[in-house]
């Protein structure tokens, strides 16, 4: 079997020697890598970031020997990535006077980091030596372990929500750093002197590990990123788009890799369910999510994941979240900076929800491994069903169809198959419930289609029974308003998402041979005609959406 990032453990020694309390993935340093470490280290101490980047960049060209940056340089690179041009143009220009590569330091740092993450994800031993890959993994895992929030404790004031149009946010001031609380990172290598013992900041920004391990700073960073990812203000949007979205993306990739490694190698085989739960509660992703909230996880999580989105949930808690810039000055454009790129609303929504989905996906990645009838000890009260319900309830109240669509517009179906269909199903049930609650009594419609994704016949039968009752057909006595149309569109999107996944799993040729396929198409057309009938009788000026045309295109009829 091909080695992967979680499977390859030929060179790790952390599990063998107990005296030094090394992490499991620990790989010892060799003379060749020590050379690279020291070169980079000395450049770093001289604040010569251009040369650090260049040293790594010029070896990204076709070389079989991969230069591996030590964990402390990785942290410096991550911090360097936060010093974006838009708010630090002056200091960047001063420290990078003749820039022959014609790119700013922060973007070069991000590109290098992405390059290494890519190598870790591929873990291709035909391209690079296995030792090098395991050693590289060790450096990045050291980074991610120092970044994980150590305390679940969070001390952020909860304000009463101010009635401001479209904004539930209060921009507070950043908490000043208490020097005493900074603990030095333990250097696991005896032959290497880390530069971080003498270095505290990069171009005026405190090192990212110190910043993010402050109480409340990690979750603040996530909220800052998510809430600004839909901002109109150029400085706030750039802070998210140019700095924190890419960094958070890298951090999430690393957490997911780290979690896989943990599950494969560290949790232990054949352990009891109780012990498994206990170990899972200490796993990397658990620590990541503890930063959200360790006690009332589900409701807080749903609030946070849809921060600054356009929705109105009844009975949500009446407080707003205080966030502040991660680094000083991030909310203001530098005088030397001219914003050129025009980000459209659609683009913003797509990028923003891509990231939100990724975090939600990581949450399900953690929960999938919790044994049945057990719950994690910390974060408490976390269960897949509750989270599906919570997220579905929120999504069902979305007021902006573009945002709603962006959430479900998954760009890699196979990687999100384990949770997106569940959310589509849950949201569909909520929307149907909201749609009929004004009119009829009776038990809540239950929709169970996801479990039939493997059984196409049953899947179609479920939809047939749903459509036969009239699916999202507006009531005759209720005027068709924009809001009604919005609800119909949302319901349709959920149906389409479920079909997209069905088609992802079986080819449309096969689907057309299924027994009830023709029946399904008839019912679908009938449902469309019912919708049109109501619209016609009301003489509505608004176009009512129909489903058959889209589905027939998807199925290539």
């Amino acid at each position: 079997m091909r080695p992967s990032c979680s499977r390859s453990v030929d060179y790790v020694i952390g599990n063998k020697s107990n005296e030094r309390r090394l992490p499991h993935y620990f790989v010892e340093l060799t003379e060749r890598h020590l050379g690279v470490f020291e070169v980079l280290n000395s450049m770093c101490l001289l604040d010569n970031y251009d040369h650090i980047l260049f040293f790594l960049e010029c070896q990204m060209v076709n070389t079989k020997t991969l230069p591996i940056p030590p964990y402390d340089i990785c942290l410096v690179l991550l911090t360097l990535a936060t010093t974006s041009n838009y708010y630090k143009a002056d200091i960047l220009q001063a420290s990078d006077a003749y820039n022959f590569t014609r790119q700013s330091l922060d973007q070069r740092a991000l590109k290098i980091l992405r390059f290494y993450i890519r190598i870790l994800l591929e873990f291709d031993t035909s391209k690079y030596e296995q030792y090098d890959l395991e050693f590289l993994r060790c450096q990045f895992f050291l980074v991610i372990d120092t970044l994980s929030p150590k305390r679940a404790y969070r001390n952020i004031d909860r304000f009463k929500r101010r009635k401001v149009e479209n904004s539930k946010l209060i921009y507070g001031e950043s908490i000043s750093i208490n020097e005493d609380e900074l603990k030095d990172l333990q250097n696991p290598y005896r032959s290497y002197l880390s530069s971080l013992e003498r270095k505290k900041s990069v171009l005026g920004n405190t090192l990212i590990n110190w910043k993010l391990t402050q109480p409340g700073e990690f979750i603040n960073m996530i909220l800052w990123t998510l809430s600004n990812s839909l901002q109109d203000d150029p400085a706030l949007y750039l802070s998210s788009h140019d700095v924190w979205m890419p960094i958070l993306d890298i951090i999430l990739e690393l957490f997911n890799l780290r979690q896989k490694y943990f599950l494969k190698n560290e949790i232990g085989k054949g352990i009891s369910a109780d012990l498994c739960v206990q170990r899972l509660s200490e796993s990397p992703l658990s620590r990541f999510f503890q930063s959200v909230d360790s006690i009332h996880f589900t409701s807080r999580f749903c609030d946070y994941m849809f921060i600054n989105c356009d929705y109105s949930l009844k009975g949500s808690d009446n407080s707003s979240t205080s966030i502040h810039p991660v680094y000083h000055g991030e909310n203001q454009l530098s005088k030397l900076y001219v914003p050129r790129t025009k980000y459209t609303k659609v683009y913003k929504a797509r990028k923003s929800f891509q990231l939100r989905r990724k975090i939600i996906g990581s949450c399900f990645k953690l929960l999938i491994h919790v044994p049945d009838k057990h719950k994690l000890i910390s974060p408490r009260g976390m269960s897949s069903n509750d989270i599906v319900d919570g997220i579905s309830r929120t999504l069902a109240t979305f007021q902006n169809i573009e945002q709603f669509r962006s959430f479900f517009l998954s760009d890699s179906l196979s990687q999100e198959v384990f949770f997106i269909p569940l959310l589509a199903e849950g949201t569909l049930a909520e929307i149907i419930e909201n749609h009929r609650q004004h009119q009829e009594e009776g038990p809540k419609t239950s929709i169970k289609v996801v479990k039939y994704l493997g059984d196409t016949e049953q899947f179609l039968l479920e939809f047939i029974s749903l459509f036969e009752k009239g699916f999202m057909v507006p009531y005759c006595d209720k005027k068709i308003t924009e809001k009604v149309i919005l609800e119909i569109k949302k319901g349709d999107i959920c149906v389409l998402v479920l079909f997209r996944y069905l088609l992802h799993l079986i080819p449309s040729k096969k689907l057309k041979c299924v027994k009830s396929f023709n029946h399904f198409i008839e019912v679908l057309k009938w449902n469309d005609s019912k919708r049109l009938d109501v619209a016609n009788t009301q003489d509505s000026p608004l176009d009512i959406p129909t489903l058959y045309l889209t589905i027939s295109k998807m199925l290539e009829i």
């Binding site: 010029c58 070896q59 060209v61 076709n62 003749y98 022959f100 973007q107 390059f115």
Partner: protein, 238 residues
């Protein structure tokens, strides 16, 4: 409307540092997706080259070697009519598919590669080392082909078979003519290839000596001091 109508036949990038700074543009990711939608257009490669080498495009965060190499390997090298606009949508799946097919169409890939290099040199001037360097930063695997192409003609003129001599000759040529800007990107282009390895070697030492001598004589062009710095870094790579 096809893009081809906007690009005339003999469009050559010459004014690469004179693009308008104040025009508003869309996010690069969107432009790239749009561009790749037209991958069956006869001028696609030309447009792709012009696009990625534009300074403002090159500067953006989105454009990196991962994305460009992906398009190069999976679209340009396997240009067949049925290949369409999948870039960026689900790259991992394209790559997985591409691995299986690789062996069958190696001839076609070679042909496409030759074609790409040919078109590249139609668009970019042979001695424009800055753009060559930019290209290999985006598609590292092209370094070898670019260098081969640059020195191919001199091989035919017959100066022995030693490529290393030609590398030094070009260095001397640029150095003596005081074309330091070109020299800088020339050096950046050739290092890391099979012909010019990193680390200690005689050629690097020779380059370094030339540049040190020049600065001792009081010539302190900014490119020369940068070159000193980078040659020192190349020394340290082992």
């Amino acid at each position: 409307l096809r893009i081809s109508s906007t690009l005339s036949e003999n469009n050559v990038i010459e004014t690469f540092n004179q693009y308008d700074n104040f025009v508003e543009i869309c996010p690069m990711e969107d432009i790239m997706k749009f561009l790749c939608y037209y991958d069956d257009d006869p001028n696609f490669i030309k447009i792709f080259i012009c696009f990625i080498l534009d300074r403002k495009v090159y500067e953006t965060l989105f454009l990196d070697s991962i994305c460009c190499t992906n398009i190069y390997q999976n679209v340009i090298l396997k240009r067949t009519p049925q290949q369409k606009a999948e870039i960026g949508v689900d790259t991992s799946e394209i790559i997985r598919e591409s691995n299986d097919e690789n062996e069958n169409n190696s001839d076609e890939i070679q042909m496409n590669k030759g074609n790409f290099i040919k078109i590249y040199f139609e668009v970019v001037d042979r001695e424009n080392y800055l753009l060559h360097y930019r290209l290999i930063r985006l598609i590292p695997e092209l370094q070898k082909d670019i260098i081969n192409h640059l020195f191919e003609n001199t091989v035919k003129n017959g100066n022995g078979g030693d490529d290393n001599i030609r590398i030094v000759e070009e260095f001397n040529n640029l150095f003596d003519n005081k074309q330091y800007h070109k020299l800088l990107y020339y050096i950046l282009l050739i290092y890391g290839s099979d012909l010019m390895p990193f680390g200690h070697n005689k050629t690097t030492e020779y380059f370094k000596d030339c540049i040190y001598d020049m600065t001792v004589e009081g010539n302190n062009e900014v490119e020369l001091s940068i070159l000193k710095g980078i040659l020192n870094i190349f020394y340290k790579i082992t």
